[in-house]
Assembly symmetry: C2
Homo-oligomer: 358 residues x 2
Amino acid sequence: MKLLRETLAAIAPQSQEYRDKAAAHIDDLTMPRRALGRLLELAEDLAGMTRSLQLPVARKNIVLFAGDHGVVAQGVTLQPQEVTRQMIYNFIAGGAGINALAANARAAVTVVDIGVAGDLSDLAAAGKIVNAKIAPGTADFCCGPAMTRDQAVQALETGMAIAAELAPETDVFGTGEMGIGNTTPSSAIIAVLTGMTDSTDLSALVDRGAGLPSSQLPVKIAAIRRGIELNHPDPADGIDVLAKVGGFEIGGIAGLILGAAAQRRPVVVDGFISTAGALIAKALCPAAVDYMICAHGSMERGHRFMLEYLGKKPLLDLNMRLGEGTGAALAMNLLDAAAAVMTRMATFGSAGVTDRGL
Amino acid sequence: MKLLRETLAAIAPQSQEYRDKAAAHIDDLTMPRRALGRLLELAEDLAGMTRSLQLPVARKNIVLFAGDHGVVAQGVTLQPQEVTRQMIYNFIAGGAGINALAANARAAVTVVDIGVAGDLSDLAAAGKIVNAKIAPGTADFCCGPAMTRDQAVQALETGMAIAAELAPETDVFGTGEMGIGNTTPSSAIIAVLTGMTDSTDLSALVDRGAGLPSSQLPVKIAAIRRGIELNHPDPADGIDVLAKVGGFEIGGIAGLILGAAAQRRPVVVDGFISTAGALIAKALCPAAVDYMICAHGSMERGHRFMLEYLGKKPLLDLNMRLGEGTGAALAMNLLDAAAAVMTRMATFGSAGVTDRGL
């Protein structure tokens, strides 16, 4: 609990002073007033987060937490659980979507086994993944809590420790995940936090994840209802929500976000599952929202409720639903672009351009 | 007319064969079916354009056409015409928005004086800009056609010649422009091509460009109405529309797009003014639309009518309205991302990942 307590205590809101300085600089750049729109809002955010007008964003690391889920026993997924483990080998071999898009973003990828059911000891021994396995998958939340409260704290602290360790060599964090079944706990988390827990609400919220046939959606909805009714997660207690209906990788993501915020580092939040982690982070420390950049709007229909809960508008909207951190990787170029605007553009005075409402 | 005729004759639609090959490859990549959404549609488009599954997109050139507009005499802009010339010095010094964002995209910027009112002979003599000046600005279309038909053809052929010259060293083109007053001819072009020419239509279409006060919008709308009523541009004749209510830089952009299409090169179309050029290109050769990638949705409200006319959905939507090619530069990273997905990702078989609806 010590790391968790210290991390939460270290989180301060964005610097209004640096936001204002950035806004003043932007107003003097050679373009019509605010003509780069949301790119300039992003620049102000980055200035407020980093307390710098240079917007340090060059060194990027996408931390991909992998975990399995006991609730797959309820038939909430199309894919077998084994795919979680198979995909980790794919990440390490460099053949997954996140590898392609992280390379394009010049971002490192750190793979963390925080609770995969399968054996990954060879990769851990070779130093290719971070071994932080809490248990071989969560328990089925239809039969009891997904994890103990201690395990939830451990998941959070795992993410926090990784953020602290990587911070000296990282300007921007990204979140990613892998875990067959993890749209189910993610849906449960947004349902609990917004009180959207009856059948009608859940029908509006729960979607097909990685391709569950529509005919099986009622099974997924029923499992989520059962998990909530059985375990009574307390929406006022983020750790309780994570423990009862969450997942290890979701806790790791929440911890990474909180750790990034404590280090005053921007964190680019990927899609549906990553945003579930962001909700847990907000529940534990609302000021952490100041450091979150929501990368893209997921095709998973519950994502918009999550974004509303955070009060965020995503940067991209490209009908993606892959996870792994792919949306975060794609959005990272916009951070580079915002930094280029702030550091490379001339001012009206220096360029000799007439400023008349320009 | 010879280059124009030959260029139009060389334009063929995208290759369905390569689109199909790309789609088949995508279905075999280690991710849930089509889980990267519009990035995969972009990959198919690029395969269809380039007749390659490697998606060559590395070498990028944003061609920025600059021209002035006689219609500024009607009071349709806030900025003095001199700003066009001032901004060209800013482009060459590297201090404009396009410089920052092109550098971020690793794209070259080619500045073309196709009709600036001011003297740029020093930059032309130094080889820093392409001197293709047709006239020192168009005529005021409220008093007669903006240019002669011969000049319109010259503008188009200027763009075509540049596309042909740059093609051997360019994988992807981008469009950009600078010209105080150029939202006015751009609005006139979409009005003519869609028949939205009465006052009500124009009120829905015409917007504030680079910050015209709302109180002066009626002046801009009246100028556009007068230009259309006086000159009777023929919506069935793209050259006539360009000549009567267009601009030199808009013609250059249309020519560049047609030239890129003839060379089977993708062309990333920037915002409102660039898309007006794309409309002229479509009017001259509908198959050219197959090579256009619309970068972003502009804040200028008429842009959505242009996108509808082209049948395109932009990649980005970031409330931008700067022009210069900035949106095109920003979108170019998504082309790199699409190429990375196609060339770097593993297939289910090669990665040993179970394919069950994944």
